[in-house]
């Protein structure tokens, strides 16, 4: 097991390096290939009526005049060894892992990422609990009562959930529940869990439900399909023949086998969400990783983009690793090399 984990971690590091190179190339190499000059790149980060001299100074300050290899090397070195930043009256050391300084706010990126993480974690974990409980339970009941009114109604609602985009359901929910009925928090609300758990839950209940609605729908359909297949297997008939209770047959023999593909998807979904629930956070103006990412991309704030992409990739890689490890727990047939 330990060897397996170490091997996966090494691969994770390689994967993150490749992701960082590709991301760097997209934002730094592609514009150059399209004809952008260091000065034209720098015009995005200066005032409206910047003079040529001002643009030149900015290009130099941002390091755009250096060869791309040097620029990437500086970025990579910052992550490993930290970097120095001249803020005018003095020089500040940005300790490792230093993802550089924002081109616009001139603040270090790493503390920003850490600051945003609790918001995204709160959103992702809360919503994940809701969608797993609701989705899997609905899927199981639908499978067991195939063709019933409940099954048809649940699958119709699930279809709606999968089809409706979050920027629509989110905005409509805000208008109805927050601004109309006044029973949920308005957009832009977030209270850290440690400050006030009740306020934390109140500020997130609507984003949780909206996000969970989207995912639960898919999970319900997936669970239903898995359960239908599993419950028709021979070993289920055998279990029933042995006189086991229906509860045991369904939960221990049926659901457990059907959970493996759900666990795979769940790991990926949670990993991706921890990297930032872009649309949910944007719709509800939650200051998490997703909002941070979209603002960074919108403003072409490249150090922030690099930081958030690597952060997101890290979570996907880690979530996948955890899922692979959990396979052994859920399904004894799985053996790790």
């Amino acid at each position: 097991m330990a060897t397996y984990i170490i091997r996966r971690l090494i691969w994770a590091a390689v994967m993150l390096t490749i992701v960082s190179i590709i991301t760097f190339a997209i934002f730094f190499l592609v514009p150059r290939l399209a004809g952008a000059t260091p000065e034209s790149l720098a015009t995005r980060y200066v005032g409206r009526t910047a003079t040529a001299e001002q643009v030149k100074i900015a290009a130099e300050k941002l390091g755009f005049n250096d060869p791309l290899v040097v620029q990437y090397g500086r970025f990579a070195k910052g992550i490993v060894a930290g970097a120095d930043y001249d803020y005018g009256p003095g020089v500040e050391h940005c300790p490792a892992p230093c993802f550089g300084y924002s081109f616009l706010t001139r603040l270090p990126v790493w503390p920003d990422l850490l600051d945003r993480l609790p918001v995204t974690m709160s959103l992702a974990i809360g919503a994940a609990i809701l969608w797993v409980l609701a989705g899997v339970a609905t899927g199981v009941v639908s499978a067991l009562r195939r063709g019933s009114f409940f099954d048809r109604a649940a699958m119709t609602i699930a279809l709606g959930g999968v089809s409706l985009p979050i920027f629509f359901t989110g905005m409509v929910s805000l208008v109805i529940f927050s601004y109309g009925l006044g029973i949920t928090a308005p957009g832009g609300s977030f209270t850290p869990f440690l400050d006030d758990p009740a306020a934390w839950a109140y500020s997130l209940i609507l984003p949780w439900i909206t996000l969970a609605f989207l995912y639960a729908a898919g999970y319900a359909r997936l669970t239903r399909a898995g359960m239908l297949e599993t419950m028709s297997e021979d070993y289920i008939r055998t279990a029933r023949a042995k006189g086991l209770t229906e509860r045991t047959v369904v939960l221990k023999h049926g659901l457990r086998a059907a959970l493996t593909p759900i666990l795979t998807i769940f790991g990926l979904d949670v990993g991706l969400l921890l990297g930032g629930a872009v649309l949910t956070e944007s719709t509800y103006s939650l200051p998490g990783m997703g909002k941070y990412a979209i603002d960074a991309i919108t403003n072409q704030d490249l150090p922030k983009v690099m930081g958030v992409v690597l952060f997101a990739a890290f979570f996907v890689v880690v979530a996948n690793l955890i899922v692979d490890l959990l396979y052994a727990v859920v399904d004894p047939r799985v053996r790790l090399a």
Partner: protein
Amino acid sequence: MKRRTTTGAAALGAVLALALSACGGGSGTTPKDSAQPAAEEAKAEFNAGLTGVVNPSDKKGGVLKFANEGDWDSLDPGDTYYGYSWNFIRLYGRSLLMFKSAVGKEGNELTPDLAEGMGQPSDDAKTWTYKLKPGVKFEDGTAITSKDVKYAVLRSLDKEVFPDGYTYFNDFLDLPKGYKGPYKSKGVNTDKAIETPDDQTIVFHLKQPLSNFDYFAQLPATIPVPEAKDTGAKYREHVIASGPYMFEKNEIGKGFTLVRNPNWDPATDPNRKALPDGFDVTTNVNADDIDNRVLSGDLDVAILGTGVKQAALGRVLGDPANKANSDNPTSTRLWYTSINGNVPPLDNIDCRKAVQYAANKVDYQTAFGGEFAGGQIATSLLPPAIPGHEDFNLYPPGADNKGDLDKAKEHLTACGHADGFETNIAYRAERPNEKAAAEALQQALGRVGIKLTLKPFPQADYFALYAGKPGYAKDNKLGLAQNGWMSDWPDGFGFLGQIVDSRVIRDTGGSSNISVRDPEVDKMLDQAMAETDQAKRDALWTAIDKKVMEDAFILPGIWTKSLIVRSKNATNIFVNDAYGMYDYLGLGVK
């Protein structure tokens, strides 16, 4: 549109940009107590805030909630160039002069803030002297002196540390050669640019006469900064307040709160009522959500002041109650089309005039959002709020504003292209309004045989590499180019300086002026800048406007309007023409 809410490389296509702009305003007049809005109480109806004060009150207390769909370029007074920021900054900073907190055009007038009076020019307007009021303090209780103002201006010159701001002081102050600001040019004597003979006096020395330097004195860069507490690029995280409010908490990228500054003395400040106890500002908020919250009363001000978004437009205009609670001010922004005289056959004035006559102004207005969310059809350059504006139209587009095709054909014949000609029109690819306007022109000009081909370019490089680079524009036949400009302050220099002066055009690109090349106009600009008599100066701005229109180098489109909604919880709501939005200094809480 993606269904799942994930991030990463999948989202790379989303690239937008805010049109950065700043504005100020006004003509220097005798200072008086301007904290009290001069206009009478206005009945709460559509556009009531343009001419009067809605919900007048002197009640103190409460907290106003603001939200920003983006974020400040910087809260540092030496590094900010957004119009809303200049409006808001007066809450925590005091510059030498300021725009009056007053309704409509009165808001365009300058009034002393830190200074006791308006600037005293000497040496043919190359030297300007200001006396500071005694007893004004920073939030920590330290007295503000002229040295703090000098330091603030000098630090703002360092464009490596403060790249967002303007370069007016860099361009006009008589600085020592090679001076790069107090961080890099430590110990350099700068008295030849700015003198502080005593703690209450500051003297600016300019390289050339500048009759309207008082507008420079209202710039946020003159808000004092204590050298001992200056943290350079990090100063934005905690600006030391000189106004009635100071920062309690500031989380850049998320928002900040302002609370009362205990060391602000109202006796030194007749301009500010400082009614609320504080301000709660959230940044990077979903724009549609901001509109919903303002309409529901959950939020007080959409700080950008650029109007409600498309999704809320119908709800405001279609609901009598909402409409009565909104205003539709005209800003000092002009959307226009540059007609490049370097690109044949537009080097012929008659060909340029044919374009002027053939344009369909109604479709142009529709392209930018129509009458309420777009703007008013423009017939010249200077917007109505700017002194020197005069109503004239050298190219009447017919009674229906859809173009005078007979006149257009006459001029086409005169320029030797009776059947029309072919050229390209450039626009910023990320801006659907510009694309729609270019398409409207394509259709309108096609009626007289002028065939336009649409050429989109990335907005980040629009001026630096494409439409604004003379060589590229000529080689690629960019005869027309979509353009826009908003005045830094409402006077002719602030509006015209960057868009009609041929000397700002550089071969390397990057200039906002991409079409006006007339030495006569340059000469008139110099004359206006040296003219100390306000009336004569305004007349010169009018003359320049007319000259550029005679040259037909610019096809004016619209003067921008925005539909802004009043807070349900606020008092003293009115539009200040200097900013073209609600005056944030006047607001109180019910």
